[in-house]
Each structure stands twice: as structure tokens, then as C-alpha cells.
């Protein structure tokens, strides 16, 4: 039995008057890739963004219920959301490198959190992160070229490396491959599998094949409800809920 990294209990999310997430409880294990699947607008991205309090930046969004990270409530008043986000990193749907050099993109997080004592340490963090992001060999000769000049797949791996650089414990990925071509997707998926050694990874995806390929656990969301949450193999071979079966066989969605 693996450790529980995140446990969410009875989470409700409201956007103004809209009830976007209805009573979701889920336990996310450490060193595991957990996939959230479901049709568009089912709340999987919203729920993902609750896990590092990214929804705080949206005025009208309200979150109720408990989300515990290593047993501590992340919505507790004493928790600094800024520190939390350093622990729970995030990679977005569209690659969003900053308009800075590749080096500065990676060094951004370590710099604001003071992770390096000197330039040599920072260099080391940058190299380690880029290696983790499986992009070091492609960019090592042009670390000071702008990050926006890379190809889409390289940009996304750069963003993953950037998220890894702050030494997070959990990595949230919101449809990280939806803007990438199949080759870049394969590279990123391979990377996700490697990252599982060190982190707990949560990935939102629209591609059922992707969920099946990279995840060990899968959660199926539908209309703001968590319909089914189980081992990926079980969800894809022998789902309990008829709605899950309809979705994975392509009848709803």
C-alpha cells in the first residue's frame, strides 16, 4: 500500500452561482500517476486547480470541503498559497514559457524561493531540471536563447522542467499534451512515467489512450461528480458505473 499524498473530502466548488464540483472525495497516492478523465466541462480541470489553490486567482470562485496534503489542510488560514504552489507544481495545457532565456525560465522558481546559494548551485539546479525534463541535450548549447523560440513540444518539456526546478512534491498537469503533435506527446508521456519515481503526478487528459498508457489510477468525472475512481486497468477493462463504460467506449462525451 502506497502513502496517500493528497486526500480530498467532500469538496464543493462554486463559480458564482454555478455548482461546478459536487461533493468530490478522492485519495491520491504518492509516486503514482493519477489521471482525471471526463467530457469537457465536467470539472476535472477545476478540481485539479483546487489542489494547488490556483482557483484563488479567480474572484468568483469558492471552494468548500477539506483537501489535505500530507495530512495538512491546504485551505487552512495558516497555509500560504504561494508556498503551497511551490510544493504542488503545475503544468498547463498550452506551453507557456516566459519571454526570457531558457536558463532564466528554469531559474525563475529557484530564484524566487531562494533555493540556490550561489551561481554554481543555480547552474546545477538548471541542468538537473532540464535533464529531468528530458530536454537538456537539445538545449544545452543555447541556454541563453529565448524559451519562446523552441518548438511546441520542447516548450512543454521546458515548462515541465521549470515546474520540477522548484522541487515540488506533487505535479499537476492540465492536458499537457493537447497542443502537441504525436511525437512530442510520446516524449512527454515518457517523461511523465519517469517523473513518477520522484513525484505524485496528477494529469487531466481528454485522451483515453493517454490515460490508459501513463496512469496507474484513473478518476472519471461527469457533470461535476466523481463517478468512479479506481485502478486504471479496472476502469478501462471492467468499469462499475454504466456512465464510465459509456464514456470510455465513446458513447457519451
Amino acid at each position: 500500500m502506497k502513502d496517500m499524498k493528497i486526500s480530498a473530502k467532500n469538496v464543493q466548488v462554486y463559480y458564482g452561482d454555478t455548482h461546478a464540483i459536487k461533493d468530490v472525495s478522492v485519495e491520491i497516492e504518492d509516486n503514482t500517476v493519477t489521471a482525471f478523465i471526463g467530457p469537457s466541462g465536467c470539472g476535472k480541470s477545476t478540481f485539479l486547480r483546487c489542489l494547488n489553490r490556483m482557483n484563488d486567482t479567480i474572484d468568483i470562485c469558492r471552494v468548500e470541503g477539506d483537501i489535505l496534503l500530507d495530512g495538512e489542510d491546504i485551505y487552512d488560514k495558516r497555509v500560504d498559497p504561494v508556498q503551497l504552489r511551490a510544493k504542488v507544481g503545475m503544468v498547463f495545457q498550452k506551453p507557456n514559457p516566459f519571454p526570457k532565456s531558457i536558463y532564466d525560465n528554469i531559474a525563475y522558481g529557484p530564484r524566487i524561493h531562494g533555493l540556490a546559494r550561489n551561481k554554481a548551485e543555480l547552474d546545477e539546479i538548471v541542468e538537473k531540471s532540464l535533464r529531468r525534463g528530458a530536454i537538456w541535450d537539445e538545449v544545452k548549447d543555447r541556454l541563453h536563447a529565448p524559451g519562446t523560440g523552441l518548438s511546441g513540444g520542447q516548450q512543454q518539456r521546458l515548462c515541465i522542467a521549470r515546474a520540477v526546478a522548484t522541487e515540488p512534491e506533487v505535479l499537476l498537469m492540465d492536458e499537457p499534451c493537447s497542443a502537441l503533435d504525436p511525437i512530442a506527446t510520446a516524449q512527454v508521456e515518457e517523461l511523465i512515467d519517469e517523473l513518477r519515481q520522484s513525484y505524485s503526478v496528477v494529469i487531466v487528459t481528454h485522451s483515453m489512450q493517454q490515460a490508459a498508457r501513463v496512469s496507474q489510477k484513473t478518476a472519471f468525472f461527469h457533470l461535476g461528480n466523481l463517478v468512479e475512481y479506481d485502478d486504471t486497468t479496472k476502469i478501462f477493462t471492467n468499469p462499475e458505473d454504466p456512465r464510465t463504460e459509456s464514456y470510455i467506449t465513446g458513447r457519451i462525451g
Binding site: M54, R85, F98, I112
Partner: protein, 488 residues
Amino acid sequence: MSAFWLLMIILALAAVGFIMGRRRAISSVQGDGRLLHSLPNYYGFNVAMLAFVPAVLVLGAWVIIQPMLISGQVSTHIPAALYEDAGQLNLIMSDVKRVADGLDAAILQGVLSADDASLLNTETTDVRALLGEVGVALGSDVAPSVLSAAQEMRGKTVSGNLIMTIVVLLVAATGFVAAMMMTRRDFRARNAVESGVKALLIAAASIAILTTIGIVLSLIFNTITFFGMFPASDFLFGLTWSPEGRGGSEHLGILPLLWGTIYISIVALLVAVPIGLFAAVYLSEYASRTTRAIAKPLLEVLAGIPTIVYGLFALTVVGPLLVNFFGADGLGWMQGARSVMTAGLVMGIMLIPFVSSLSDDIINAVPQAMRDGSYGLGATQSETVRQVVLPAALPGIVGAILLAASRAIGETMIVVMGAGAAARLDLNPFEAMTTVTAKIVSQLTGDSDFASPEALVAFALGMTLFLLTLGLNVLALYIVRKYREQYE
């Protein structure tokens, strides 16, 4: 027939053309509008357009060209002994025109018949008294040559107007008939109207551009005239500005004015850029939706205040306030209420909405994904703004600042009222100084002769300003455009 009535007739013709064209189109398909290529109104517009536009163009051209041609012809008949240069000939020709107008008025009022007017003779009639009776006062007695020239001009104008009436009506009628002939069920009236609309838009755009070119050319030619009278090197590098010193001792050096302009603009930008930029960051990054909805329009009200009101504010409020602190009773740096500081501060306030509103738009254009990326790494809001949003928006913000700078350089009223009129090369910001714009005003509002270097220098000053702001604007547009490409 006068041009005005002619225009009315063409307009009426166009209106009739619209109705008839529409009707003809409908009757060509026996009332079933679906069989027409275009909607019936398009056939009407097409007829109206062809009847109106060419005729009006001919009319306009004729009205402009005919007087030029006639006065050119008539002036050759003025004896060369009466004038020495083109200026005197112009004066005589304006007398001729006045007499000709007087004769017209006399005929209109029934004092003279048309035949009498052409047979009038200075020996038998006192023309000056006669024209005085009908309300046209002349400065001196009418010379025989002037009268005969006036009669000739009148005769040519009358016959010219007659030909114009005929030609214009002919053109209108031709357009009308041609368009009516075209009006059949398969005529593409919609496309014809479309090209008419396009021509209209092109005409509007070219008028704007041609006017600009005209202004620039007039600046250039007058500047060249000025440099013919005054050495360019003294203007460009002279350290003194004292146009009052007549008799060869005048100094028209631009440097003190340029220094004043740049100094005041720098003070203004030092005020406007930080305040405007911070206001923009607050409005776009921190403020809630309601705060933004209230604060942004309020800030933009500042931009709607006429600059003369800012000038008043500078003179009556800011100046005295500064004198309290820096004047003789305080630090003793300041002599009077007018100073670089007074004008600079107030101009800075004027520029705040300019900087903030442009920067706000640019900051908003930075994709939300950038901010999310930064927040997702655990950055605070101000870290995100400082390290991600502002660097991404920087080129646009620089463009906004340059646009503000070119406004500061061109600003006049605040300077006239706030900075004084003393042209001085000084570093003390509490001294009165003046700018290029303020001096243009004072050079042209006096009663000096327009052909003197004191007046013509205004064009050289204007040219300098124009080049300065043009350079800044081009640079700003270039930077802003380059920035746009980054995200599109």
C-alpha cells in the same frame, strides 16, 4: 446660373434618378424582385451615383480652375508700366476683381444694365462713386486700365459660367441616361455601388494624406525661405534667443528653446511614467472588477480636461505652492510662480492617463497563461508583475512612453502659462524657461511682418518640432508593432 443652384439641380436629378432607376429595375422583371441580380435600391443608387458624382467633380474642378485661368489671361492685359513685381500685380488684380464684383452688384441691383456695364468708361462716369452707391467701397479712383480689365474679366466670367452650366448639366444627364440604359435585370448594380463606396473611402483617405503632405510642404518651403534670410548654422547652434534686438543684432538660436522643451518634457515624464505605470499595474493586475470599472473612466477624465485648464491650474495653484516651498521665504531657489518645475509637474499630471491607459491595454494583452505559469511556480503577485508581466509588456510600455513624450514636446498652453517666456539655458528647474511651441505662439501673435525672419522663424521651429515628434512616433509605432508580433 450659380454653382449652388447647379448643385441643387444635380442633387434633384440624382434623387429622381434613384426613384426612376429603382422603378425601371422592378418593371424589367415585371415586379418580381427575386429575379433581379441585386436589390432594387442598388439600381436606384447606381443611377443616382452616376448622375451625381461625375457632374459634381466637373463642377468642383471648374469652380476652382476658371477664376485662375481668367485672372491669368486678364493680367496679361495690364500695362507692364503699372507694376514692378508680382506683389504689385497681385494688388492690381485684386482691385480688378473688386471692380468686377462691383459691376456685378450694380447690375443685380438694377443701377446698370449689362450693356451699360460693358460700355462703362472712366472719362464719362465716376465709377468709384457709382460702385460706392451699390455698397462696394474702393480705396481710390478707378484707373481706365483697371476698369477695362474688370470688364473683360466680367465678360469672361459670365460666358465661362454659361459654358460651365451647360457642360455640368450635360455630364449629369449623360450619367443619368447611361445608368438608366444599364438598368436591366442582369445588371450587377450591387457590385457597381460597391466600387462606388470603395472610391468614396479612398477619396476620404487621400484627402487626409494630401492635407498632411500639404502642411509638410508648406513647412518645408517656408523654412527654406527663412534659411535664405537667416544663416542656418546660427539658428541650429546659436545659444541666444532674442528676436527683439533689431538692426542686424537679432539672435534666433534654437538651442535655449530646445533645451527648455526637453527639460520640461523630462520633468513631465518623470512624473507621468511612474504614476501612470503603477496605476496601470494596479488597475490591470490588482483591482477588482468593480474598482476597475469605476477607476479607469475616472482616470480617463483627466485626459478630457482642456490643456488651457491645466495651464490655469499650473499658474494659479501649482506655481504659488512651489513658491511657498522653494521661493524667497523657503529655500530661495525660485523667483516666480512660472518655472520648468511648475509646467513639468502639471504636464506630467496631464500625461498620466495617457501612459496609464495605453500601458493598461498592453498589460492586459499579456496572456493569462504567463501569469498562471508564474503563480503555478509559487510566485507572489508582485513577483509575477515584476518578473513576468512587465518584461513581457516592456516594448509596448516603451512605445506608450514615447507617445507620451511626443505629446509633451508638442504641448503649448501649459508651457505658455506655467513656464514663462524667457528663453534661457539653465540647469535650475525652478527658473522660468520656455519651449519651442511657446515661442512659435509669441512669434506669430505679434504684429510683425510675415515676410520677416522673426515671423518665418516660426516655420523653422515648427519644422524642428515636427521632425522631433515624427521621429518619436515612428520609433514608438515600430516598437509597438514589434511587440504585437510576439503574441499573434
